[in-house]
């Protein structure tokens, strides 16, 4: 049965369905519906909602609950996400399964509440210190938020790694019909590594420091292997009209939805264009993108000064032109703007091939 729900609330409900039993957070627009929903509904499932004194405290409470072996989540928005970065780095190093939602707002500074995707670098390049990677998932619809929230908890447990859901404020606030499919957990080994007391298992230490350089390097190499495993297995993307495409837009989240309409506009003009929509921002879906080697030009459409475009360039190499179009400061382009920007940016390539 479908219900009409805000993105933020759908994520919170999906988390409960996926067995999340603890939520720690600090209010910040435009993510606040998530803690508010949890405050209301956590009791229903016998879980714990706690409003922390800051995002710094919240992420460390999350760390503690995950260390004790429970499914736990926090949600925040850009400035709060910045405050959490030390904690995310510790969570990675301690190999704890944690789900974090970043409902992005624009910056830098206090910024504003409008739609943005300018946390891309912070999300995907390791916002905190050290060599680490959270898995980062970017839903484009409320339905997809539910699916990816289910997935996030499984991936976090499977890899014992932080998983971040990244969405724009506009998507978190948007209401859409949504259906909660029954959550079917992935079969995963019991959490024997968790700190639950030595009553029923050998002593556990969950620490993240390594003082001897030789041992430090071994740890980093161990994590590097895990990073490679995640990179190989967890790339996700969607495509739209890419089958016969000569050109492609690449966009995630809300930009992906705008770009989809832009594809239709350009197709109506006879341009063979498609959309490549990364769903996992990290790992970036390089393998999928490289399948489209015949694409003669890419346009990365983002709500930022151009961040993901770097990854597109790294993926397709220097042989193919990769351009960028974006709006900033909370502004979103219309599909017509994107279509126009595409024609301007790829003017030469379009003419070389002729408009068909």
């Amino acid at each position: 049965m479908k219900t009409l729900m805000k993105g933020n609330e759908a994520i919170a409900e999906a988390a409960l369905q996926a067995g999340c039993r603890l939520f720690f957070g600090y209010p910040i627009t435009p993510s606040t519906e998530i803690p508010e929903y949890m405050a209301k509904k956590m009791k229903r499932v016998g879980g714990t909602f706690l409003q922390a004194e800051s995002e710094v405290a919240a992420i460390n409470m999350v760390y503690g609950a995950a260390a004790a072996g429970e499914r736990v989540m926090t949600a925040t928005s850009t400035p709060g996400f910045s405050l959490m970065q030390e904690g995310v780095s510790y969570i990675f190093a301690a190999e704890l399964p944690v789900v974090i939602v970043d409902v992005m707002r624009h910056g830098p500074g206090l910024g504003g509440l409008g739609a943005t995707q300018a946390d891309y670098f912070q999300l995907t390049k390791g916002g905190g210190h050290g060599d680490y990677h959270p898995i980062v998932l970017a839903p484009a619809t409320v339905m997809e938020m539910v699916e990816l929230t289910y997935l996030a908890f499984d991936l976090a447990d499977e890899y014992r790694n932080p998983v971040i859901l990244a969405l724009e404020g506009i998507s978190g606030q948007m209401m859409e019909p949504v259906e909660f499919m029954p959550y079917r957990p992935k079969a995963l080994p019991p959490k024997t590594w968790a700190a639950t007391g030595i009553g029923d298992k050998p002593k556990v230490n969950i620490v993240s420091y390594v003082l001897a350089n030789e041992a430090g390097e071994l740890h980093n190499l161990h994590w590097a292997k895990k990073i490679e495993r995640m990179r190989a297995a967890e790339q996700r993307y969607d495509t739209y009209r890419m089958d016969d495409a000569e050109f492609a837009l690449v966009a995630f989240g809300i930009s992906g939805r705008i770009a989809e309409s832009a594809v239709d506009i350009l197709r109506a003009e006879g341009i063979r264009i498609g959309l490549f929509r990364p769903i996992s921002l990290w790992p970036f879906p390089t393998d999928g993108m490289r399948k489209y080697s015949r694409i003669r030009g890419w346009l990365s459409v983002e709500l930022s000064a151009g961040q993901m475009v770097d990854d597109v360039r790294l993926t397709v190499g220097s042989g193919t032109p990769v351009h960028f179009f974006g709006r900033q400061g909370g502004m979103t382009p219309d599909p017509e703007d994107v279509a126009e920007a595409f024609k301007m940016a790829l003017h030469n390539e379009l003419n070389a091939g002729g408009v068909r």
Partner: protein, 252 residues
């Protein structure tokens, strides 16, 4: 022949890294002894800070989670909320609990978080080589107060247990020290009471223990003990600053 003292099974066999004469080791042992005395070891999860007690996962025989600097109480909150049936304690230095983690400390107390915090106050940042702390005494020379702590510049030392005794959710607040056998016994009793308060579900319990840092104070271990008494003790309110009115909450 009767055994008057033995190594507690609350500790592992590993020897500690503490400097000679450092009283941190005494405090660790007291905590371990109380965990055993109260039969808590099997269901205890300890949270260690970043600081000179940040390697205690090697010494305690119970499960230990290592927190980021200043966040031990937040991490302990997460652990306890996830496992309300477990016994949870946190260790913190004065830099950890009274500077970078002050908000977490007071907030946990305000929530009446059912954890026990052992705050080891040596009036200096031991781990990082002897910088000034919020609890350094006026005139104390440290690496970052080379001319002595200056009230104009740094204010007076912060009396954290006194502050916490004003917070409703803090059910038990004690301020003790370890420079003599009598003080060690009193410190152990305070830890015992703090742990009982958690078991009884009364709220946050906090024990501040004055400790030495001969290495960074630049004195011998014996001098350090007399410094503790003459220089540190006058800075802080001492004793049980707040105790719950509850029968059965008594010392060992």
């Amino acid at each position: 022949m009767s055994v008057v003292f033995e190594r507690t099974r609350g500790l592992t066999d590993q020897s500690t890294h503490f400097c000679p004469g450092c009283t941190h080791g005494v405090i660790i042992r007291l905590i371990a002894e109380v965990l055993v005395d109260m039969d808590l070891l099997e269901r205890t999860i300890g949270v260690e800070p970043v600081g000179c007690t940040g390697f205690c996962e090697n010494y305690f025989a119970c499960d230990i989670v290592g927190a980021a600097h200043g966040r031990a109480v937040a991490v302990a909150t997460g652990v306890k909320r996830a496992r309300p049936d477990r016994f949870v304690f946190s260790l913190q230095g004065d830099g950890d609990g009274a500077a970078i983690g002050l908000a977490e400390t007071i907030s946990a107390a305000a929530r009446g978080e059912k954890i026990s915090s052992i705050f080891i106050n040596n009036s200096i940042y031991g781990m990082t080589g002897g910088q000034m702390s919020p609890t350094s005494w006026v005139g104390q020379k440290t690496a970052t107060s080379p001319y002595g702590r200056d009230v104009e510049l740094n204010g007076q030392p912060l009396d954290l247990p006194l502050l916490l005794s004003q917070v409703d959710g803090a059910a038990y607040v004690a301020s003790v020290s370890v420079e003599s056998p009598q003080e060690v016994i009193a410190a152990k009793q305070a830890i015992h009471k703090a742990f009982e308060v958690q078991i009884a579900g009364l709220g946050y319990s906090f024990v501040s223990i004055l400790s030495t840092c001969p290495t960074n104070w630049g004195v011998t271990p014996v001098e350090a003990l007399s410094w503790l008494e003459s220089k540190m003790k006058p800075q802080f309110h001492l004793g049980e600053l707040k105790k719950p009115a509850l029968e059965g909450v008594t010392g060992p």
